[in-house]
């Protein structure tokens, strides 16, 4: 580790992998809490949504019938936390009949092969 990194604080590439539907389990909500708290550490943050995780950022979430908290608006606030690198799996979107028009945030669509490369380029991968 260089002197400069010690003084300025080390910056690592953090990738949050979101694989689960927003409701049904608490993983998505608590994962988002990690991202928001982690933003204070000023690391190089990316998020990828795959499998049912793509539903976390779909428009029109209505939890009124289940008494769960609809936390989807929080994803739109990520930009304010300098979390701007959001990726979705092309295969996961297609399998669920979704397009980027169905999503509440701007994302980059990636193939499974591209996501593999993204993961390989990271220092820390947190999977939820």
């Amino acid at each position: 580790m260089s002197e400069e990194m010690m003084e300025g604080g080390e910056v690592k590439k953090f990738l949050y992998v979101n694989r689960k539907a927003p409701y049904g389990t608490i993983y998505a909500l608590e994962s988002l809490e990690v991202v928001l708290i982690g933003a204070a550490f000023e690391q190089d943050v990316s998020m990828v949504f795959l499998d049912d995780g793509v539903y976390q950022i779909t428009k029109g979430q209505d939890t009124s019938g289940s008494d769960m908290k609809n936390f989807s608006p929080t994803y739109r606030a990520l930009e304010m936390y300098d979390v701007e690198k959001l990726y979705v799996s092309k295969e996961s979107m297609e399998a669920r009949g979704l397009t980027t028009d169905d999503l509440i945030v701007d994302v980059e669509v990636m193939s499974a092969a591209e996501i593999r490369e993204l993961m390989e380029s990271q220092d820390v991968v947190l999977s939820f």
Binding site: K12, Y27, V34, I37, Q43, D123, V124
Partner: protein
């Protein structure tokens, strides 16, 4: 190698909690450093001393406590996840007006920043859970 461990699953329900323990123990015995074990999601339930499994089964909570005592291991329970699930130390119990605490020996309660910091400090962060 300097490891950080994240445990996302509760004891007995999910083997992830057992595997995390076995990995941590094996890493320490091989001479690696474990910078921190961070308990998140239902993983916080690994840190209640009220756990009372049948006599003929492994005691997951005591096992962590013993490993911590032996290796001076830093076992951190996420405060936000703990509050949702009723895990408290004396300070947390007092602060939230509860009549008791239940944290097991060797564990401490702290914030999510401890997870991020562990990710920064460690060579590898290993996540256990679904």
């Amino acid at each position: 190698m300097k490891f950080a461990i994240q445990v996302n699953e509760g004891p007995y329900t999910h083997q992830g909690s057992d595997t995390a323990y076995q990995f941590t123990k094996a890493a320490l015995e091989k001479g690696h450093e474990v910078y921190r074990v961070f308990f998140y999601h239902d993983g916080v339930n690994n840190g209640t001393r009220l756990t009372t499994p049948p006599q003929d089964d492994r005691h997951i909570v005591n096992r962590w406590s013993e490993l911590a005592a032996k290796h001076n291991l830093d076992l951190v329970i996420c405060v936000a996840a703990a509050q949702r699930r009723g895990i408290a130390d004396a300070d947390e119990a007092k602060r939230n007006g509860k009549d008791a605490d239940n944290i097991a020996p060797g564990f401490r309660i702290s914030g999510l920043g401890q997870l991020i910091e562990a990710g920064i400090q460690a060579d590898r962060l290993v996540v256990f859970g679904d």
